[in-house]
């Protein structure tokens, strides 16, 4: 049993998807998340057992709507999708083959599906031009693999890969609306970050197969409902920037084995579920184990990481300036704790050598704040 398996316990490893990887890449300095993700630990179950369940999740209405939209786009052999792709990429493809990699003769193991994805994509990439049947134009649910800080993880497939004129495109179907050519920027950004993960993984696969990774386009196809209707519309989104951010963050991910070396032997996050699946491990004991892996909390975690509420409570115990947000923390010159900030500001603590400058700024802030609020009396 590997070290990672021991950390996870007997439960099966939790799958990754582009969203979780994008979240991890957003906070590459967090050892806790790196270890949990590499080991495939069920973060949601752990957070719940610790008493800090993350309140996010998708609404049933949103899920229904997303599914209905995806079905619509893929209906009749992806008729809608092909029409959009023809218009968007100026193709003259009359018909295309469609391969769904989700079912491989009833065998759903990751390794098998990944091997099948590889085989299909290689065949498509090396097929002679014009051979539509062999080039197999649309690949639904490709199962990709990614190296994350030294651990191989599989990506849950929720995209389509598409080959046209020798170039492969990643297609992401999202159910948020594009109204008068504009969509919610936050959701477009999230979609672009996730699509970039797939482009990255697909390029790695090409490299491993000895193919030119540049054949995977950095323009992803985003398919969304148009205006207030259900009619799909497609847009090309350039994810070069997201790709370079992702590549940098992935390379910065602390090598997991290096973190593992620092962890005490025998450490495990096993919930010790009984036959009914009820955790029997005391939450205090679990919390102690979790605390052995240092976290790096940032308020952005609250929207993307299951562990965030636990980590926030921990950061509060320390009075960490991380709680005030990255912008405030940067302004405070990286001084780690709120009491330290206030002590420097009030001159009750001698600044360390690297704190001299920020201490002077803080003392000024303290003086100006006192001077300008003095007249306010007791207003909240």
């Amino acid at each position: 049993m590997s070290r990672l398996d021991a950390l996870r316990g007997p439960e099966p490893a939790v799958d990754h998807n582009a969203r979780t990887i994008a979240a991890l890449a957003a906070n590459p300095g967090c050892d806790r998340r790196a270890v949990f993700d590499a080991a495939g630990v069920d973060k949601q179950a752990i957070a719940r057992h610790l008493g800090y369940p993350a309140p996010f999740g998708q609404s049933v209405f949103a899920i229904t709507r997303a599914r209905a939209f995806e079905e619509l786009v893929k209906a009749d052999g992806c008729a809608h999708l092909l029409r959009l792709l023809r218009e968007l990429l100026g193709l003259t493809v009359a018909e295309v083959a469609y391969d769904d990699i989700a079912d491989v003769g009833g065998n759903a193991s990751h390794a098998v599906r990944h091997a099948r994805t590889r085989a299909l994509l290689r065949r498509a990439a090396t097929a002679p031009p014009g051979d539509v049947a062999a080039a197999g134009t649309l690949f639904d649910h490709p199962l990709l693999r990614l190296d994350m800080g030294g651990a191989e993880v599989y990506l849950e497939p929720d995209v389509i890969a598409f080959q046209a004129r020798g170039r492969f495109h990643v297609i992401a179907i999202k159910s948020f609306a594009v109204i008068d050519g504009q969509a919610d920027p936050a959701r477009v950004a999230a979609a672009a970050r996730q699509a970039a993960v797939y482009v990255h993984a697909l390029r790695r696969l090409f490299e491993e197969e000895g193919l030119d990774p540049a054949r995977v386009a950095h323009d992803v196809v985003l398919v969304c409902p148009k205006d207030f209707a259900n009619t799909p519309t497609a847009t090309l989104v350039d994810v070069r920037q997201q790709l370079s951010v992702l590549a940098r963050q992935l390379s910065r991910l602390t090598r997991v084995d290096r973190i593992l070396d620092r962890l005490p032997p025998g450490l495990t996050f096993d919930l010790r579920k009984d036959a009914d699946g009820t955790p029997t491990r005391s939450s205090a004991d679990l919390a102690q184990a979790v605390r052995k892996v240092p976290a790096r909390f940032a308020p952005d975690c609250l929207s993307s990481c299951d562990m965030a509420y636990f980590c926030r409570a921990e950061a509060r115990e320390r009075g960490s300036t991380d709680l005030l947000g990255r912008a405030a923390r940067d302004e405070l010159g990286g001084v780690a704790s709120v009491p330290a900030v206030l002590a420097l500001a009030e001159g009750t603590r001698e600044p360390a050598a690297d704190e001299v400058e920020i201490a002077a700024q803080l003392r000024l802030a303290h003086r100006l704040y006192a001077e300008t609020t003095r007249a306010m009396g007791t207003v909240a």
Partner: protein, 486 residues
């Protein structure tokens, strides 16, 4: 975020309570604002689920769409909303004054003010306006005539909300966060109830305790427009099914009310908190601008003006952006002049300083280059403890004499010598009080209110070919009116 605000956040952690970052209120607050809390069905672009709306804290009006996917029910909701909002908006259009200017214009005496919980509420208002303004009372999908009218007004209000310093459509979290720093992050400040909890915790609770209670979605439902996923699954979905089965909307009404009522109360508490702050000096001027824009739109709509197109024209967009930039600059400068705590931000940066006048040469006259007669140019020396990062030649203004410009002559250790350039009257000697006296506390800042002329954009008809040439006049099409709805 500035270091001063970050420091205020650190203080808030220790005090267990939000700390002021403004000493006066920088937004206009109507004596009779309309609070509007919309909810949307999750997963849909702009399908209203319900709303709580009204001008009286004791009398919220609850509007509900029992089946949000039903197009007719959606527009029935909008018609109901219009029956409340339009009278509120239109009654302000009636009373106007004529403003004497180069081209005299009409300006309403007061204007509507709509308060929504957060920026997403503003975004939803915009989308609701967009989904209604092209509809027609006749044709294939007829709607009540008030629907496109409300669509036009919501579009206008959402547009104003983007202008810095406008107070016609205000996101409450933004308004509060501009005046108080909490001991949490900006991400968490997006939760209205948590933010109010930090600013004014209930008796027996600290700010963080109140904020923690506000994060519990069972006791404190989200302020919209999105609802909590658990609520959707466990309460709303069965209620909508019950409506489908029985035709009675009682269950959906109860469900939606349970999600809106807590936010309704918090919104009015927030209004009270803002009202406690004295109004800043520049607020009245900015509100005048809002009133003038309001009257312009009211006249345009009354004359049968078409709904705004889907896209701005090139010139229109450029003018709008330029106006917004100038409004932003003027707003930031005015805030600093109105509020010593905001000015402190500039003092931190060395762009402003405060101190005491230690020396004045009030009789000083010089002959400016290119002129023949001597003019008054008094010198004022100010002693200050602030870290001054100014250089000779910089032109400064002062909250005490906002029309006057002073030039930096010399910066010494702990002292700044200024030359007063204008604002001294036409007499042989500077008018009394126009030059600071020894012992006076003064503050000077290198701030440019940007009140000069704007960039001379071409007219729409003269749009250059680089920008597509003159655009075709926008005429609402049948296609717009008949737009498909899912």
């Amino acid at each position: 975020m500035s270091l001063l605000t970050a420091y205020a956040r650190a203080r808030a952690v220790r005090e267990g309570r939000a700390q002021p970052i403004a000493t006066v209120r920088h937004l206009h607050l109507s004596p009779r604002p309309l609070v509007f809390i919309p909810l949307r069905l999750a997963g849909e672009a702009a399908a209203p689920l319900g709303a709580m709306v009204g001008t009286d804290p004791a009398e919220p009006r609850l509007l509900v769409v029992p089946q949000p996917r039903d197009r007719d029910l959606r527009f029935a909701f909008v018609a109901e909303l219009a029956a409340i909002m339009l009278p509120y908006i239109q009654r302000y259009a009636a009373a106007t004054e004529t403003v004497e200017a180069k081209t005299p214009y009409e300006r309403s005496l007061d204007a509507p003010q709509i308060l929504v919980p957060n920026p997403r509420g503003v975004a939803f208002t915009r989308l609701l306006g967009r989904s209604c303004r092209f509809r027609r009372p006749d044709g294939p999908y007829p709607v009540h005539p008030s629907v496109p009218l409300l669509g036009q007004w919501l579009t206008f209000l959402a547009d104003r909300a983007e202008f810095p310093g406008s107070s016609m459509l205000v996101a409450m979290t933004d308004a509060l966060a501009a005046h108080w720093a909490t001991g949490q992050s900006q991400v968490e400040d997006g939760n209205l109830a948590a933010l109010v909890g930090w600013i004014d915790p209930p008796d027996g609770m600290t700010g963080p305790e109140a904020a923690a209670a506000a994060e519990d979605m069972v006791w404190s439902p989200p302020a919209g427009p999105e609802t909590a996923p658990d609520f959707d699954a466990q309460v709303l979905a069965p209620a909508i099914r019950a409506y489908a089965a029985s035709g009675s909307d009682v269950q959906v009404r109860d469900a939606v009310r349970s999600q809106l009522e807590p936010t309704w109360k918090v919104m009015w508490r927030a209004v009270e908190l803002l009202r406690r702050l004295p109004e800043a000096g520049g607020v009245a001027g900015r509100w005048e601008r809002d009133r003038a824009e309001f009257t312009r739109e009211a006249v345009r709509i009354a004359e049968g003006g078409p709904p705004r197109g889907r896209h701005d024209s090139a010139v229109g967009a450029a003018v709008r952006l330029s106006t917004m930039e100038r409004a932003q600059q003027a707003y930031e400068v005015q805030r600093a002049l109105d509020d010593p705590l905001v000015m402190a931000e500039h003092r931190m940066a060395g762009k402003a300083f405060a101190g005491r006048v230690v020396h004045v040469e009030v009789e000083r006259k010089i002959v400016p280059p290119g002129r023949t007669r001597p003019v008054n140019r008094p010198l004022v020396t100010v002693a200050t403890d602030d870290p001054v990062r100014l250089a000779p030649g910089d032109v400064l203004i002062s909250p005490a004499r906002p029309k006057q410009h002073c030039e930096v002559v010399e910066v010494r250790q702990g002292e700044v010598v200024l030359q007063v350039n204008d604002g001294m009257g036409r007499g042989a000697r500077p008018a009394p009080g126009s030059v600071p006296e020894i012992g006076e506390s003064v503050c000077y800042a290198d701030l440019d209110p940007g009140d000069g002329r704007g960039f001379p954009f071409p007219s729409k008809e003269e749009t250059p070919w680089t920008h597509g040439g003159p655009p075709a006049e926008y005429v609402p099409t049948d296609e717009d009116a008949m737009e498909e709805w899912s």
